[in-house]
């Protein structure tokens, strides 16, 4: 039975950063109040809870906010110590997990967003290459680190799985928008099989909206960036 906690999550259905927190809380069997935010009209609670960035996700535990998705994941892991663990127990394996989660957020995700933001075909092609290269490195990492286990985290979803798995709907959205497959049975067979397992995992069930919702959100973002750029010039 899910433990009752004074816990709220300020999030967005389509945000990979919020998705990963929801899946983590599901993994831990912790119940929480999910408060979907409207980023075009930010709530008082969001502005008060994350005054520095004014972004989602924010986890509010016992009235105290925690911000930044990877910081939240580590907090959840440290507070709710029931299995499964999100980060491995052993320091070296923890370092490897942090490295690859950092890689997803610092290299893969910005390159992918760059595809959406690109204003020329040349720029877009460059960002597509970058994203493909990043996926290639993640495929190699899985080959090296997973040792035949179903997830980066081993038998169950872990830190890197959460970081990468939460971007799947966006990788698919970008594929639908621009025709490039970033997870492909031919090029990245291990990640293709992993992605299936991730999507079907109980903890992820219901947390991954259809990629078309991300496509719609993506188009809204593109329109906003174009308008901002036009206004600046």
């Amino acid at each position: 039975m899910a433990a009752k906690e004074d816990l709220q999550l300020l999030g967005l259905a389509v945000s990979p950063f919020a998705i990963r927190v929801r899946i983590a809380l599901n993994l831990k069997g912790v119940s929480y109040e999910n408060l979907e935010q409207n980023l075009m009209d930010k709530s008082e609670l969001l502005l008060k809870s994350n005054p520095v960035h004014k972004k989602v996700p924010v986890l509010i535990h016992g009235g105290k906010p925690i911000c930044e998705s990877l910081v939240i994941l580590q907090y959840v892991d440290e507070v709710w110590t029931a299995a499964p663990s999100i980060l491995p127990a052993e320091p070296y394996n923890r370092a490897v997990a942090r490295f690859w989660a950092g890689f997803v957020d610092d290299k893969l995700f910005p390159s992918m967003v760059g595809i959406l933001k690109a204003t020329t075909e040349e720029e877009r092609a460059a960002k597509v290459s970058e994203t493909l290269a990043a996926m290639g490195k993640l495929e190699e990492a899985f080959a090296e680190r997973a040792s035949g286990k179903p997830f980066f985290g081993g038998d169950s979803i872990g830190y890197v799985d959460l970081a990468l798995g939460s971007t799947l709907i966006w990788l698919e959205a970008v594929r639908r928008m621009f025709g490039v497959a970033f997870i492909d049975a031919g090029e990245t067979p291990l990640l293709a099989a992993w992605a299936e397992r991730f999507r079907e995992a109980e903890a992820a069930n219901g947390e991954l909206p259809d990629a078309d919702i991300a496509v719609e959100f993506g188009r809204t973002l593109q329109a906003r960036w174009a308008a901002a750029s036009a206004a600046a010039n």
Binding site: V52, H53, H61, K64, I66, C67, E68, L70, V71, I72, Q74, Y75, E78, V79, P91, Y92, R94, A95, R98, F99, G102, F103, K137
Partner: protein, 237 residues
Amino acid sequence: MAGGGDELKLLGMWASPYVQRVELALRLKGLDYDYVEEDLGNKSEFLLASNPVHKKVPVLIHNGKPVCESSVIVQYIDEAFAGTGPNLLPADSHERAAARFWAAFNDDTLKKASEQALRGKTEEEKAEGKKKAAEALEKLEGGLRDCSKGKPFFGGDTVGYVDVMLGATLGWVRATDQMQGRKMFDPATTPLLAAWAERFVELDVAKAVLPDVEKLIELAKMRHAQAAAAAAAAQAS
């Protein structure tokens, strides 16, 4: 555990604040290590093999196993040597989250803004960067107030994770202050940060690790000259 069977090797570059973070952490924990200076213009096979993904320093090699990325390395040092020396991250989960938050803030938000302020392509971009950097510094001032609770460091009475991550940048902060004729941690707008910075650079460990400001200025001038020469050559051809 420390000493005994542990072999620690750090691949670094004397002017890199990311490397200095690792050195600060190792020394604060009282750990011995071998330092290997890398020529980043001619990276060693060993570096490339140890950090194939980014090919960057720092890399900490512990008993033959490489750890990369400064924030990952510093947390690794804290966890692998948990019984040795002071803890860099606080014990309380919420405080740990705050420490990780502010370290990330420094590397993402403040760094980006500062870079735009210095290296923006237009005067307009630079001005925007300066404004963002000022806002970021104000927020960081709040972070220091919250984390320190009136004590000398982000870590409280003793140097902690955020102090290490931010403190390592003080070499370049002071060099840039001198070159630009400004004070990044301005006592008028960010008094807590200004006092913290003065305090940090006086620590024995900071004096041992942070490079000479004069040497950094020399390096900056040399890099600037090289960039200008390259640009001129590109224009001429």
